[in-house]
Symmetry: C2
Subunit: 419 residues, 2 copies
Amino acid sequence: MPLMKSWVESANSADCPFPLNNLPYGVFSIAEAEPHCGVAIGDRILDVTAAEAEGLVALTDMPLFDVPFWNELMEEGPAVWAALRDRLIALLSDGAAERDKVEPLLVPMAEAELHMPFAVSEYTDFYAGKNHAVNVGTMFRGAENALPPNWLHIPIGYNGRASSVVVSGTEVRRPWGQLKGPNDEKPRFAPCARFDIELEMGAIVGTPSDGPITVQEADDHIFGYVLLNDWSARDIQAWEYQPLGPFQAKATATTISPWIVTKAALEPFRTDTPAREVELLDHIKDCGPMLYNIELEVTLAPEGQAETTIARTNYKQMYYSAAQQLAHHTTSGCPMNAGDLLGSGTISGPTKPERGSLLELSWGGKEPVELKSGGTRTFIEDNDTLTLKGAARGAGYTIGFGDCVGKVLPALDDPYARG
Amino acid sequence: MPLMKSWVESANSADCPFPLNNLPYGVFSIAEAEPHCGVAIGDRILDVTAAEAEGLVALTDMPLFDVPFWNELMEEGPAVWAALRDRLIALLSDGAAERDKVEPLLVPMAEAELHMPFAVSEYTDFYAGKNHAVNVGTMFRGAENALPPNWLHIPIGYNGRASSVVVSGTEVRRPWGQLKGPNDEKPRFAPCARFDIELEMGAIVGTPSDGPITVQEADDHIFGYVLLNDWSARDIQAWEYQPLGPFQAKATATTISPWIVTKAALEPFRTDTPAREVELLDHIKDCGPMLYNIELEVTLAPEGQAETTIARTNYKQMYYSAAQQLAHHTTSGCPMNAGDLLGSGTISGPTKPERGSLLELSWGGKEPVELKSGGTRTFIEDNDTLTLKGAARGAGYTIGFGDCVGKVLPALDDPYARG
């Protein structure tokens, strides 16, 4: 598919992340105004709440965009998702008849504050990237026991904390937690010393379900994708995670990129999951190309200094697709709702510069990562800014997500002091 | 504290679970009417939604009970919680001046259908009963490694699935899942063969928080308690839970009792957590009696047969209080919201008949439990009804929760068949 031309000129360059092919969904506000639903086009945002109020977008009897989140559209299902995309393309295409009515509803993206694009119903995080699982398993259990016995048979996942999901730009406070090193006699309560990122993609469930669904149905139920940084306190995790999994180590924050990129926009970039090393059971087999070719990058910038790209990889490195993860999630009959967020698990490629966490990049802190601005990192230091970037590159156009940014503030001196 | 007398005569007997001392909060409907908020008193329910509409209950400028859940009251905080209780006691006490206005708002509990009493924001399950942890650890890891190294230092918890929480009376369908026995060559997808209960108490967070809170603050934030059955697919759990904890094994359903028993009603039954075997760090120390003396019982009834009491224990057997669990939950800065539900973890006493799961009662299936109606059980069989019961017994009165009941339906022949 080539670039689709828009009358919004800034959307027509090959490296603009928001061409007409993309049309991702977000929530924005300008100055003191209430947050509205918006669609990114070039360097503008189309105010969809206003477009609906003026009758330019009329998909259903009841308004969908009078709330500052996209969950109401999700609930409508794939036919309405497609109808909205068709309508937006018609309004924004080069030569559109209604350009005069639409143009006043565009606002400059540079002036907008972006908010959470959807209300997170529940958040599940997976562990479904094989290179990451092998790296972490090798560090913690040795190369021979790197992959748990179940790893090649199910996408391992655990429930995360929806209340901790924040939008790009939200500052993240280094947490306190209970820590005990292998040689410490007793645990202590102290600030996390091994605070880390996890480079992930987040899949957003659009269609509710109330029983087991197939992988094809699961793919149909997914509304779109975001970049996702699953901030991880490695020292808290090491002490707490046996036997029932990560808990407080993952509860400080999870940051997502501000724009929901729809499945329709990603359609040309579909790709197969890698060859299976062990045949999967039928209910969890991919039935088509359900991964995506999305280039991913992580940068780290110390305060006031230039950023260094510390990792580059690709979403197609995943072993399990989001559709497989969602299908597995429903096997028990677990009810799924619009706005459920599924983290892919950390995405690492096979070589060292492709690793999606500092834990892997610094090999547990033993091999510091060099920064362009001077200095090194094993884990995140105070006031570092970490950014995830993602782009699917087509012939003459780019599908971008908007950066997924978080600055890490120092831990509080006394976390129980009330300000 | 003695029995408080009500003009609702049925509330004044020593074994009535809903005397004036209790006043638990639920949501009910009669015939085809919309669900309303209600308070149990004797064998009646006071329609609080109607009482508010008629001006008999007026706590805030905006109505709190025009929705079929109690979250709006929770959000108001402890002063309003106390004001409501005072007002209800005034309206329902023996000799109340407004009896004539209140009496028409009472409906017979026997005719009411009970619904979820609150909207579950997120659900966390703990593993904080020591006898249970030792029993399970001994079965899975041997007596010498029964307790994980962190167990005596933190209340171990994991995030559960809020969408799977249902009210007492909801039938539970035996799930399918991926299973692999220790001697199986490969996993298979099949109905769960080791479906189990977990006898727990659920604590409901009323006051939101957005950073670490102390144990005393945590106790202040708790709105009330319910009985909680954390249905568990032991064979699914055995295969999936390493390394990131239980996932689909716990996602079929969690059943709660229909009435939220307030902290105020339980106040006379406060008791200390057991002596610490290892001193806790300061931030997680109990600072007063924060457990409760609540007698608990589990019954099992095969279809059409009498029930057998298979376990009797007490909430005071817990090692960690709900306040300690909530305080630990916030150490990372994890935001908590009104309607968050915290499962205590399985409550087992020190002797065999006090064990709160069939896994423990049958010692992993090796020691079948005898039923009064004939036959035995290792795990739940199709069409068995499992019931949790709870009561705090005061001088001449009882604080009841309402039974927490679930019947287990057979697994579907084909979970992917669409009806």
